[in-house]
Amino acid sequence: MKSALRIACSRRSLQQVRDFVRNHLSSRQLPEVTVNQVVLAVDEVVANFIIHANAEDETQFLDLKLDMNDHDINVEIADNSSTVYLPGQHQSPDLSEYIRQGRKGGMGMTLVNRLMDRVEFFTRGNHTVCHLSKHIF
């Protein structure tokens, strides 16, 4: 089963993205925690594309594709802007230090890497694409 969605690069689009992923996954009897993990991973990557790659420019857009089979959930998030956004090598954050510094950000990609079984960023032409996969049982 495949689904697609195009959204403007606005934080207000995040609710639409989460609803899209939830609706797609609702066709299967998956545990609520598993559904939330996939929703969260997609939300984090989309938020990064909106905020960091596109500076919340609402004239830019992202294309999402979801594909689910008996064993895997596969998500593609493609940024249609020409900004190359490739997050650096994942490192585990020192959260005690984050608390001491009063830091707000820097945990999103850590979450994505812990929630999903495969996380890949690459370029297609002059666009950045993210592929996420999670095994379901």
Binding site: R11, N36, L95, G102, R103, K104, L111
Partner: protein
């Protein structure tokens, strides 16, 4: 995302209702940044109706935690849904923050 504040003499209870993400985190940040909040002994966060949290929402709590600790204000979460607790757990924040099951435990914490 709706944040409702219920003050008593020495405790402020914040009821969170909805989804806390990069769009709505500012609502919670505004509430936690109020200077008066440091006059309370405890801030209890009722998560019964918090149906979603992203790293932006977690970041709001993390960014205020040291300020609360410096002022001897205890931050306690309770009534957390399993899927929301799972997000705290994945990052290891359940070991760094006080998360209990019920309102009675939160009041006693």
């Amino acid at each position: 995302m709706k944040v409702t504040a219920q003050p008593t003499a020495d405790t402020l209870t914040l009821l969170l209702d909805g989804e806390l993400d990069a769009s709505s985190a500012i609502v919670l940040d505004t509430e936690l940044a109020k200077p008066d909040i440091l006059n309370y002994r405890k801030v209890l966060v009722d998560c019964a109706k918090l149906s979603y949290i992203s790293s932006a929402g977690l970041g709001v709590f993390i960014s205020h935690l040291q300020r609360f600790q410096d002022a001897n204000v205890k931050l306690v979460f309770f009534n957390m849904q399993e899927k929301v607790f799972n997000v705290f757990e994945i990052l290891g924040l359940d070991a760094l923050m006080t998360i209990v099951s019920t309102a009675a435990e939160a009041e006693a914490a």
